[in-house]
């Protein structure tokens, strides 16, 4: 399950239709630094204190654990740049997405682009894709079913217009 995207914006910009969404990330850098460094300081201070008394085997476990915590925060940070955007301008539909280390951009011809919305059950578990030339690109992954269905309706009307 991916992060929820709540920063969704859709509207007109200089005649173009623009849809953008970003993840909802509530962790601020100061919070992250406070939690990580306070835990690291506490763990290592304890481990070094006991190591000083000769009980050094706590130290490697503290290192492993803080390493895992650092990895977790790094993984969260890697999601900071995630976004998806869809722009319909003239005859061109531009899709852009970025997730973790992966990102891509795809341009479609508006006349050929087709909206596909498949729901496993009526109105539920829906997948929204823009298809063209036998290739489908999923859109609105971060939305819930209701918002995805609304986006599908908007896209259909925009692509027809």
């Amino acid at each position: 399950m991916e992060q929820v995207k709540t920063e969704v914006c859709a509207g007109e910009s200089a005649g173009a239709f623009v849809f953008q969404s970003r993840p909802n990330l509530s962790l601020t850098r100061p919070q992250e630094r406070l939690v990580f460094w306070s835990l690291a300081a506490l763990c290592f201070a304890t481990a070094i204190g006991f190591a000083w008394l000769g009980y050094w085997l706590i130290l490697p476990f503290a290192g492993l654990e803080i390493g895992l915590l650092a990895w977790a925060f790094k993984a969260l940070r890697s999601r900071e740049g995630d976004y998806e955007s869809l722009v319909i301008e003239g005859d061109v539909v531009v899709l852009e997405w970025h997730r973790g280390k992966h990102g891509a951009r795809r341009e479609l011809n508006r006349q050929w682009a087709r909206v596909e919305c498949n729901c496993r059950t009526p109105g539920r578990n829906c997948r929204l894709s823009l298809c063209s030339h036998g290739h489908a690109t999923e859109v609105g992954q971060y939305l819930n079913d209701e918002a995805r269905l609304q986006l599908a309706a908007v896209l259909r009307s925009r692509l027809q217009g």
Binding site: M1, E2, Q3, V4, K5, T6, V8, N24, L25, S26, L27, E32, V35, L39, L42, C43, T46, A47, F50, L53, G54, Y55, L57, I58, L59, P60, F61, A62, L64, E65, L68, L69, A72, A75, L76, E84, L86, L95, E96, W97, R99, H102, A104, R106, R120, N125, R127, S129, H135, A136, T137, E138, V139, G140, Q141, Y142, L143, N144, D145, A147
Partner: protein, 525 residues
């Protein structure tokens, strides 16, 4: 947005079924359910051991067990109740409730969440399986003190491995909870607007991360002392067994709060709902929880006054321990103030929450008695200590778990539980629990030592009363099992909000909560 080819990785759209659903699930609700069922099974396993212990103690002499098996039972009862019941149960609540309360779709690291659960049954099997090994299960007490823990058989090695695995599970779970709470709160849900249950779990997870390396290091040093010729704690080789106690309690006193802080969180959700008033002194509750956590790092040696330490150290640990009563008192005051002039109703979750406040306070007071160094030297390793920590962990932690289950079960299952059976469960539990553990105060004050299968004749009556209470309490848990199974199977349809006074994001969802929730985060005003 992604290419369809990439999108196949996204497992959020299907609803898997069968055994594989449970083995491979990354859904926080499934994993929460797994934790809760694991805890329930372990509750009956470790509870059965408790009944065997109490049956043996019904009268002086040896009836059912031999002393070694009795020690195995007490050790395993403690280890399983702490690591197999209370901690997994609270992890189950965290898995179910934290994302729902925060408006998040799942935990921050769902796969790690799956691993964190599935290593637990392995540890449980290692612990339980050791009963069938040569020499039987560990019998040195849940505190794993050397020299007993250095001298035991193969089961001691397995227990060390099991403790490592449970620690790994706790670390993975804690990192997940910290990152989820910090990073996945709905827009507008600032830290000081979070439900108190999330706050208590944030602080609990912080404590777990801070202390788990100490436990891992301590048991690894036991392992190397046993198998690799080191002498960290082996007095025969110049090691210091007392140092193990310092290291162990440096972990285990915060662990005590790890076992009780989520209980504070649950009760802080339940009481305002049934008092139909907001929680009194929310900010002070947060600061009190944080204060308890901070103080938990500087009180460890109150568990070991009898090993001998300078008077200054005794005074320091005595006063620092007493200091914990201040933030705890703030909490109790706030719960009572929340109820004060509230439009209270007494459904089962509220009954358990009220019992928690009253009985946990008794456990807290007996803790204050034990904090007094000269008194503790008299009462150390007596049944007074057993009474104290059972008032904290049974009427504290376990009763809060019952309160939480009754409170959120309708949201989880979509059905109302049987209120009549719930009340039977409550009254039998609360009466049974007090019959078991209250007389133990008198036994301890009279000098009856803990962890013995036989005792002097003068202790017989109180032991008999305690045993009768234990069977009432133990068998009343079957009612709880029936209530849970009955509610899962069917019952009156629960409304979305379930309780009239319930506030929070989880109550905005349908009952039962859909498999996927908050795919788009709500905005909290």
């Amino acid at each position: 947005m992604s290419d369809a080819a990439h999108a196949h990785d996204d497992h959020g759209h299907g609803h898997p079924s069968g055994v594989m659903r449970w083995l491979t699930t990354t859904n926080h609700k499934d994993i929460g359910t797994l934790y809760l069922f694991f805890a329930l099974i372990m509750l009956f396993v470790a509870g059965s051991m408790a009944l065997l212990i109490r049956a043996e103690l019904f009268q002086p002499g040896l009836q059912l067990t031999n002393p070694d098996f009795f020690n195995q039972l007490t050790t395993m009862h403690g280890l399983i109740m702490i690591f197999g019941v209370i901690m997994p149960a609270f992890s189950g609540f965290a898995n179910w409730q934290v994302p729902l309360m925060l408006g998040a779709p799942d935990m921050a690291f769902p796969r790690m969440n799956n691993w964190a659960f599935w290593v637990l049954p392995v540890a449980g099997l290692l612990l339980m399986g050791s009963f069938w090994l040569p020499g039987g299960a560990v019998a040195g007490g849940w505190t794993m003190y050397p020299p007993l823990f250095i001298q035991g058989g193969i089961s001691y090695d397995l227990t060390i491995l099991a403790v490592h695995i449970m620690g790994l599970s706790s670390i993975m779970g804690s990192i997940n909870i910290v990152t989820t709470i910090l990073n996945m709160r709905a827009p507008g849900l600032t830290l000081m607007k979070m439900p108190l249950f999330c706050w208590t779990w944030l602080i609990t997870a912080y404590l777990l991360i801070a202390t788990m390396p100490v436990l891992a290091g301590a048991v690894t040093m036991l392992l190397t002392d046993r198998n690799f010729g080191t002498h960290f704690f082996n007095a025969a080789g110049g090691g210091d067994p007392v140092m193990f106690q310092h290291i162990f309690w440096f972990f285990a006193h915060p662990e005590v709060y790890i076992l009780i802080l989520p209980a504070f969180g649950i009760v802080s959700q339940v009481i305002p709902t049934f008092a139909r008033k907001p929680l009194f002194g929310y900010a002070s509750m947060v600061y009190a929880t944080a204060s308890i956590a901070i103080l938990s790092f500087i009180v460890w040696a109150h568990h070991m006054f009898t090993v001998g330490m300078p008077a200054a150290a005794q005074l320091f640990f005595m006063f620092s321990t007493m200091l914990i009563a201040v933030p705890t008192g703030v909490k109790v005051f706030n719960w009572v103030a929340t109820m004060w002039k509230g439009s209270m109703t007494f459904e089962t979750p509220m009954l358990f929450a009220i019992a928690f406040v009253c009985l946990f306070t008794i456990g807290g007071f007996s803790g204050l008695v034990l904090a007094i160094a000269p008194v503790d030297i008299q009462l150390h390793d007596t049944y007074y200590v057993v009474a104290h920590f059972h008032y904290v962990l049974v009427s504290g932690a376990l009763f809060s778990i019952f309160a939480g289950i009754y409170y959120w079960l309708p949201k989880w299952t979509g059905h109302m539980y049987d209120e009549t059976l719930g009340k039977w469960h409550f009254w039998l539990s609360v009466i049974g629990m007090n019959i078991v553990f209250f007389p133990m105060h008198f036994l301890g004050l009279a000098g009856m030592p803990r962890r013995i299968p036989d005792y002097a004749l003068q202790f017989t009556e109180f032991n008999q009363i305690a045993t009768v209470g234990a069977f009432i309490f133990g068998f009343s848990q079957l009612i709880f099992l029936i209530v849970v199974l009955k509610t899962i199977k069917g019952g009156a349809k629960a409304t979305d909000r379930v309780w009239e006074g319930a506030e929070g994001l989880e109550w905005t969802l349908p009952s039962p909560a859909p498999y996927h929730t908050f795919e788009t985060a709500p905005v909290v005003k």
